[in-house]
Amino acid sequence: MGNPFQAISKKDFDYGAAQHLLNRAGFGGTPAQVRALVELGLDRAVDYLVDFEGERVSNEGIDFKSDILREQTPEERETLRRARVMNDTETIARIERERQERQNADRAQIGAMKRWWLARMIETGRPLQEKLTLFWHGHFATGYRTIENSWHMLRQNGMLRSNCAGNFADLARGIISDPAMLKYLDNDENRKSSPNENLARELMELFTLGEGNGYTERDIKEGARALTGRTFRGNDYFFDKAQFDPGAKQILRRAGNFTGDDFVSIILEQPECSRFIAFKLYRFFVSDAPVISRDGSETIERLAKSLRENRYELRPALKALFRSQHFYARDNRQSIIKSPAQLIVQTVRSLGTPVRSVDRLVEAGDLMGQELFQPPSVKGWVGGRSWINTATVFTRQNTTVFLITGRTNRGPTGGTNEPYDAMHLVEHLRDSAGVLDARECVRSVASFMLGAEPGPARIAELERYLESIGGSPNPTINNERLQALLCLITAMPEYQLC
């Protein structure tokens, strides 16, 4: 019985394998980028993607305001108090209006942040960094609508990004000191005199151990006491000592006067934690199929072991995973349903289409069920089949039509007519006389876009289109015809897989 976690042999790292790696550890790439990865060879290709620090990030340094929702100054509070006493409705109304304006400005800012992040995914030279940040955002899910503070969301996003491939312990400690999360799960109301169990419960159930994995209701109650006093002031974490319960606690069969950090340390000692994180990584990077195969379970177990042996360092585990036989197994190729972000970003990055309108793309992501900074609940995005229904199928197909042609249901260019030269995808297929064979183009482009050559019946349908426009079995390929072909391929159900 082979070990599915063992690395594939170097010679097996061919074009298909490299493309699979680039899709899963990133958002795909052009044929030239895939070939470059093959040139690097397995080990260096994996290192290149995982040790991303040296690569550029293009759209850093956008100015967002940290003080839109600042707290009232003492003077403002005094003005309001006096207005109330004097029943000065005009002043009260003015203050209410100003508050409303600040809130509106903050909602506009979260909109800008969504665009900023999506653009960053599209442009970054460190695709795995954004992919992991998105993974952790879904894992430590926090929603803007509940906390209504865009700066806190951005701050959390930065914390997740800077630790995304680092150590899971830092992420877990970071999240219990994160203003957005503390607010989202009501820990700002977790006080010695009236503990609030929300964060303690989700910390174990959703962030570290998994539902029902080796903890009890009592552990939640005691854990909540350890988390008392962890709150925030303005934009920063604040430990409110007066609200902290310093008494003796019993958590997961350990006794002591534990703090929140101790609570996290105790959780990390549980092997269940490494298994749960390995399981979540596996679902995100390897397979989202409803049933996990035997090799899959074995891989999760070995991935968990790697996390434990490396004291929760993520990079060694990720590198081993991205080299493993199971990761490249036939059943795991083209098998995950693309998230909306993956669909959008991968289409741009692999076909080299214009971005056209980040605003539109953000909106399309919302319609497809993935609103950045707004996961549907603390459980994050369920992913897999929940992305797909009879309406999102059309939104997905029409989003790729928009990227390729600029066309929307509002008309041919829907406000953007940036030219897109798709011919770069087939230039290398020209024969010595510079002529393109239409059938070869269909095969090549479909294989590239779908990750494998589709069956003969599918290819025949694509060829049928070419024949019908050109009136001959081998019509001339031009940009317009090629774009239409790309639209047709992106509308195939297979295109929703990566």
């Binding site: 609940s377 089949r385 929307t408 426009i469 239409a484 047709l488 159900p493």
Partner: protein, 433 residues
């Protein structure tokens, strides 16, 4: 059916079989097991699908409940609303505003003068009004209060209440078109963890735009998307690919079906405004026998902070005309018995009018239920106009109790798990067999 002895007998007869199935077997098998047992719980009008339908109409912005169901019998009402109060039935027009429609004279209650359609439905025994619906510690933010109503949770967090209903009725793979919202975005209420709502603004958008690029694309597109899982016989396993093939096929079929359905002229005329168009589409889909259990329509503009008389009257007219046309359509289709319509808003408005002839965000407000299945009449007490909470009405009925009745009595589902708690079921529906 509400006969407890009967229910108990039923349980004894088949309790064991169902309990053992429920935990493990996918829902379609469970359903066929029910089918084999010949479930008398499901009605059996020949030719009429059994499944009951809930239509939700959301009034966005906070509808002014006090000017919708008008407590004209109270002097406090006119004291609080000297300019915008609506006079009792028979009174002369005031501030250009006609008098209220008679509803329940004994209790001093009337309907907004433009709710003539509601009045007709009321007189026919098809309208139920539940007064003073709200929740503890009312939140006056549109955003949050709407999320509270849609999640059915006071912390406004998590999935939607209807979404949880679907998640609970069938685990695993979502059902296509179980819930359809007319609009750009699907409301949170329909959002489950697994079950995701279908939303579209109008049926013509529910199609692939690529076919407009070139006439010869349509055929290969159709073949590529209509093959279904059957075209992949080797993919017999339940892979993600097979699932995508099936859903792509479903999408093509429902796109054709929905577009064909709404292209047919309705059986009764509808007015031309927004809500009416939405209900017209919903009516067409019901007529077509779509498997959809919950439809969601919405209407905005209820945030009437200033000069509200004219705009609010307009909204009332649109609401009333649309709902009346919809109900007539359903009756004409002979589908009325299996449809109940629910109307709600995220909150009502302040008792006292403000200085601009409008009203500010408030709390409790009436809800409406329409259809032959509802117990007609005015239910619950009108909240006191003097015993207020910061100038706002105190609620008498928790909206989650109302949901409990909808879930238990209409959707035939236990409510406790969905609502995360036991809420007293006020019994809004007639006992039916």
């Amino acid at each position: 059916m509400h006969d407890p002895a009967f229910t108990r007998r039923l349980f004894l007869q088949r309790g064991c079989a169902l309990a053992s199935l429920a935990a493990t077997v996918p829902c379609f098998i469970e359903r066929s097991a029910l089918g084999m047992l010949g479930d008398p719980l499901l009605s059996s009008n020949p030719g009429v699908p059994d499944e009951r339908i809930l239509v939700i109409i959301q009034l966005g912005g906070g509808n002014d409940g006090l000017n919708t169901v008008v407590p004209f019998g109270s002097d406090d009402y006119f004291r609080a609303r000297p300019q915008i109060g609506i006079r009792g039935p028979g009174a002369a027009p005031q501030n250009g505003q006609p008098a209220a429609l008679a509803l329940d004279g004994a209790r001093g209650l009337g309907l907004h003068p433009n709710l003539t359609g509601f009045k007709e439905l009321y007189d026919e025994g098809l309208l139920s009004i539940i007064q003073g619906v709200g929740y503890p510690n009312p939140n006056r933010s549109h955003f949050t209060s709407m999320d509270i109503w849609q999640t059915g949770r006071l912390d406004a967090k998590g999935s939607g209440w209807i979404g949880r209903y679907f998640d609970n009725t069938c685990n695993g793979t979502p059902k296509p078109e179980a819930a359809i919202a007319i609009g750009r975005n699907a409301p949170l209420a329909l959002e489950g963890d697994v079950q995701k709502p279908v939303a579209f603004e109008n049926a013509s958008l529910f199609r692939w735009n690529g076919q407009d690029l070139h006439g010869s694309l349509k055929e290969p597109y159709d073949t590529l998307n209509r093959t279904g899982a059957g075209g992949f016989a080797s993919d017999a396993a339940d892979t993600q690919k097979a699932f995508l093939m099936r859903t792509a096929l479903d999408a093509q079929v429902s796109s054709d079906r929905i577009r064909a359905a709404v292209a047919k002229p309705p059986l009764v005329p509808y007015p031309g405004h927004g809500l009416a168009n939405q209900l017209k589409m919903i009516g067409a889909m019901i007529r077509d026998g779509m498997p959809t259990r919950v439809y969601y329509a919405s209407m905005g503009g209820f945030d009437t902070h200033g000069g509200q008389l004219g705009p609010h009257a307009n909204l009332m007219r649109q609401l009333s005309e649309s709902v009346l046309a919809f109900q007539r359509d359903l009756k004409e289709q002979r589908n009325d018995a299996r449809v109940t319509t629910m109307v709600f808003s995220e909150f009502g408005r302040r008792v006292k009018q403000n200085a601009s002839g409008g009203t500010d965000h408030g709390t409790a407000a009436p809800m409406f239920f329409i259809g032959p299945a509802v117990k007609p009449g005015v239910w619950g007490n009108h909240p006191s106009l003097t015993d207020l909470d910061q100038g706002d009405l105190k609620f008498g009925v928790d909206f989650r109790s109302v949901y409990a009745s909808v879930l238990e009595d209409w959707m035939k589902s236990p409510s406790e798990k969905i609502l995360r708690g036991k809420f007293m079921n006020p019994g809004l529906f007639k006992a039916m067999s």
